[in-house]
């Protein structure tokens, strides 16, 4: 960890060469060096900051940092908002959407945040970010080693008394490869996760995909996350946002029963087996809501639209979901794999007789000639 922090410092120093007058950054880097030299003192410094508040009070006074959040509870929107402090959320990808989502969740009082990103966080990005680079996991989750680290960190017990692992994973990555990896990890762990993404369409890119748009996406993602964690409102399986037209398509995401991923198929099976229990719970909830209907509006309306996918335990392999008609305005990014009726030449379907070492030797021989 220390070595990583030192490397990050070195990078930031190089970046600072472009801005020799940036005294604020110099000060911050000085603090980082001091922290590295003396971890105990740094911890003491941190402790001198506002001490943790034991219980969330809904008292509306200036000194209560939670008064506005607890308003949701007072208005009957959320039961027991304080539970938010019990939850931990992992955010994969701390770019435009992820960083805003992380800040929002922090301001909502989330218990624990795990942050992952492959790109090192540079000083150049720090105007958007409120945490220090060494406080996030910096790793490439798509490699074998990175993936194992990712899985282990999701499963690990936190320092809190009760929690094991995380309650929700939010994917805010910007590439297909990383999305597939988060999908794989959550399938294997039976972990609920939500996906988000922004894409730019054709001719007027820069106007519509700036920071403001990412903020909208992040806001909807976090809202969906809070609805899921605190169990209020309706969690959308899929919500799209076309910002040029202010158009919000929704649809059901179904898992692909022919999914090639065995973990996915296993989760689908478990999901189907749990269906009777789910239906009963849903029925009970509807009956409870019907009887409470006289008490006024249940939840606030949400006017925003964000591209949010909600995957439960039966996580979909979303690119390959069974051929449902897509709502207007949505297109598939990648084609499905062709299924060949008969094996195409020159594949031989029998196992290769040569063993691995022999093949390696052959390639090596070719390489040397």
């Amino acid at each position: 960890m220390e070595e990583e922090q030192l490397r990050a410092l070195l990078r930031d120093l190089d970046a600072l060469k472009q801005r020799p007058d940036d005294t604020a950054s110099i000060e911050r880097m000085r603090e980082r060096v001091l922290a590295l030299m003396n971890p105990a003192a740094a911890a003491a410094c941190a402790a001198a900051a506002r001490s943790k508040i034991k219980d969330m009070s809904s008292e509306v006074v200036d000194s209560n940092p939670y008064s506005r959040l607890m308003a949701l509870q007072r208005m009957g929107v959320v039961d027991n908002y304080e539970r938010i402090r019990d939850y931990s959320v992992a955010i994969v990808g701390i770019g435009g959407v992820g960083s805003v989502a992380a800040e929002m969740l922090t301001r909502c009082g989330i218990g624990r945040l795990l942050l992952y990103d492959y790109d090192t966080v540079e000083l150049a990005n720090m105007n958007r970010l409120f945490f220090r680079p060494e406080q996030s996991y910096s790793l490439n989750i798509t490699t074998v080693n990175g993936f194992e680290t990712f899985l282990a960190s999701l499963k690990a017990r936190s320092s809190h008394e009760r929690s094991t692992g995380v309650d929700l994973v939010l994917s805010c990555v910007d590439n297909y490869e990383a999305r597939m990896v988060v999908n794989q990890a959550c399938n294997e762990l039976g972990q609920t996760w939500m996906e988000s993404g922004c894409s730019i369409w054709s001719d007027r890119p820069r106007e519509v995909c700036g920071f403001e748009y990412k903020g909208v996406v992040a806001g909807l993602l976090v809202q969906n996350a809070l609805k899921y964690l605190l169990k209020f409102g309706q969690v959308s399986p899929y919500l799209g946002y076309n910002s040029l037209k202010d158009y919000f398509p929704t649809m059901e995401m179904r898992p692909n029963p022919q999914c090639s991923n065995p973990a996915c198929v296993q989760r689908q099976k478990e999901y189907m087996e749990a269906k009777p229990a789910r239906d009963a719970a849903a029925k009970a909830k509807m009956e409870a809501e019907a009887s409470a209907a006289d008490e006024g509006p249940i939840h606030l309306d949400n006017d925003w639209n964000i591209s949010v996918l909600d995957d439960d335990d039966a996580t979909t392999s979303s690119i390959r979901s069974s051929a449902d008609i897509l709502p207007e305005g949505l297109v598939r990014e990648l084609p499905d794999a062709d299924s060949y009726p008969e094996p195409p030449a020159p594949v031989s379907s029998s196992a290769i007789d040569d063993d691995l070492e022999e093949l390696q030797r052959q390639l090596h021989a070719l390489n040397s000639s």
């Binding site: 794999a337 594949v347 196992a351 390639l363 070719l366």
Partner: protein
């Protein structure tokens, strides 16, 4: 395969296709997949040599076959430019293609992500997705890296971002002249 040149299309047809859908975490299935990868690489290298277009060397960098390293080269104006290459096999392979890296070119071209990962054409990923799991490392080299080099190296050389290693060794001689075509 629209959008690909005839040379590439004819060569790729001679690379054996793979059948096993396994990634580096899949134990014995991955070993079988590796055999298919080697077979394809051996065939592709042989075809290249036969066509006098030998352009890369590659070998597994770890015993699991999850990381690969090697060299590739491109001839521009009769001079050969060499680049080390490396990549990890991603966990979601083969559904996800490997991201080939040319670390010595990092920062020299916009067609590259941080760390030297080459940015492939809009044709490549859909083609890979459509043909999964039949494409392997050899296909990634043939359909990904080779066209990238063909598109980018001439620009890099002509603009001076990349110098031939002979020119680097003797900068005083090369000053004032772009890498000239050897006669």
């Amino acid at each position: 395969m629209e959008g690909w040149d005839k040379g590439t299309k004819s060569v790729v047809g001679e690379i054996p296709l793979l059948s096993i859908r396994a990634g580096p975490r899949d134990g014995e299935a991955w070993r079988q997949r590796l055999k298919e990868e080697y077979r394809a690489l051996i065939a592709y290298t042989s075809v290249n040599k036969a066509k006098d277009n030998d352009w890369f060397r590659i070998s597994a960098a770890n015993p699991e076959g999850a990381r690969w390293e090697g060299t590739c080269w491109y001839v521009h104006n009769l001079r050969r430019y060499e680049f080390p290459l490396q990549f990890d096999i991603p966990v979601a392979y083969p559904q996800v293609a490997p991201e080939i890296e040319l670390p010595t070119l990092d920062g020299k071209t916009h067609k590259m992500y941080r760390g030297g990962k080459i940015c492939l054409t809009v044709h490549f990923k859909p083609l890979w997705a459509k043909n999964c799991p039949r494409f392997g490392i050899a296909h990634a080299l043939c359909l990904g890296l080779a066209p990238w080099l063909a598109a980018e190296v001439p620009i890099l050389v002509d603009s001076g971002m990349v110098k031939h290693k002979d020119d680097e060794a003797a900068p005083s001689e090369a000053s004032g002249s772009a890498p000239a075509a050897a006669s």
